[in-house]
Symmetry: C2
Subunit: 280 residues, 2 copies
Amino acid sequence: MTKEQLFEHIKRKQSFLCVGLDTDIKKIPQHLLTEDDPLFAFNKAIIDATAAYCVAYKPNLAFYESLGVEGMASFEKTVAYLREHYADQFIIADAKRGDIGNTSGMYARSFFDHIQVDAVTVAPYMGEDSVKPFLVYPGSWVILLALTSNRGSQDFQMTELADGDRLFEKVLKRSREWATDEQIMYVIGATQGKLFLDVRKHVPDHFLLVPGVGAQGGSLQEVVRYGMNDRCGLLVNSSRAIIYADSSRDFARAAGNEAYVIQQEMADCLQDRGIILSKS
Amino acid sequence: MTKEQLFEHIKRKQSFLCVGLDTDIKKIPQHLLTEDDPLFAFNKAIIDATAAYCVAYKPNLAFYESLGVEGMASFEKTVAYLREHYADQFIIADAKRGDIGNTSGMYARSFFDHIQVDAVTVAPYMGEDSVKPFLVYPGSWVILLALTSNRGSQDFQMTELADGDRLFEKVLKRSREWATDEQIMYVIGATQGKLFLDVRKHVPDHFLLVPGVGAQGGSLQEVVRYGMNDRCGLLVNSSRAIIYADSSRDFARAAGNEAYVIQQEMADCLQDRGIILSKS
């Protein structure tokens, strides 16, 4: 999916919501455990209930890998289901990969050729040759970790460098040279508040993937105030607050309602910014 | 496996070799492609031929994931085979994971509870709470990326900080506070030469996992000169130079020979250092 296509979906759906499919076998409704593939059954119901209100889905690989081979099958089925039924959704494999060149190439092949997601999250610590193999697939995206939502973001990402920048700024500046804003996005945690202003100094036009709204305590209003640009430039992720909104048989409807509430708030933001003319 | 047990295995086998199982379906001998599980068939033959000369195996997850569910099954079978037949081998899942706390916890559960490896490689960029969930499994290890073997290690790891350290030094110093040398090792690339001296200033007693000998151009002699400590403190990995030593039906014997040559060189190093009394 191109940047322009993503922006069109955002305007049409009046939403820049990404639903995080952090599907934990220990947290899904009990009655699903008798299904052949409980993770997929849960995801399918969540997707059907929320797709009208979001533009992206982000399964986090950890939750699928923790169940071994069966979990990976659930992941692949989820992506295939989205591809078949919701072709306008941007699919992010939240994998936070990164290895030496030939090995990163194997991961890229896995996610873009084999499973066919739109984007993969990648960790920057190993530098340019660990990221570039993900950038050779036309229409596919790298979403590079820059300033994450967790407390540990203070440990290294915020470290001041000899030249006065902080490490996350160096990651933004260096990686800008590796590809354009048609191929790279950045992970910036919703908990980072005014630091979005510093991020936007370096990458005014890039899309930012913003986790940390909801369970982690980030504020949508703050993210929009400091991070939105004229072409939206934001994909704001919510996982637990949506998918675990309710644990009864009615879980999917509750998730849909939760996604709808966020979408309505997002539509207001897009209207305030003049990106859409009127909320429908 | 404890640090002491690992050291005992090193002395007994006169080897600190780790064989990297970077098993690429496109590189294994053609005749194996008719097997039910070609990756596992290859790994089993390589393991049987090399186990006498090494103390550790390191499957890199990228190579298995690139084949989807089937590849992950090959990975799990490989670990189970090692557990059953070669209980003295230290098994490293080279996964380079790292995520926010609850998600890192899922990865940890996957590798330590479900698949039961001894160690997982972890990326430090997201900081303390992304690493700690891997440290709650008794007897299990985190191997933290510090100074990697690739060219991209220059991009961020070598960056000079405001306090005069380089980033990899800050990673060493900070992470020393998270656990002892009984639970953390570090990845230091064989290509880093005299920088091993700087690493040893910060972590004199820790084991270092050293990739990059062989195909990537690192020198075993240099690694030993600058990086070995009185209790060895090194696991030197070789992947491609061993497992793809030959592509004929004789591939396993060639791999065994290659591992033997490296083991002999390592025995000399251990003897020179007085860690073993005589080479057997």
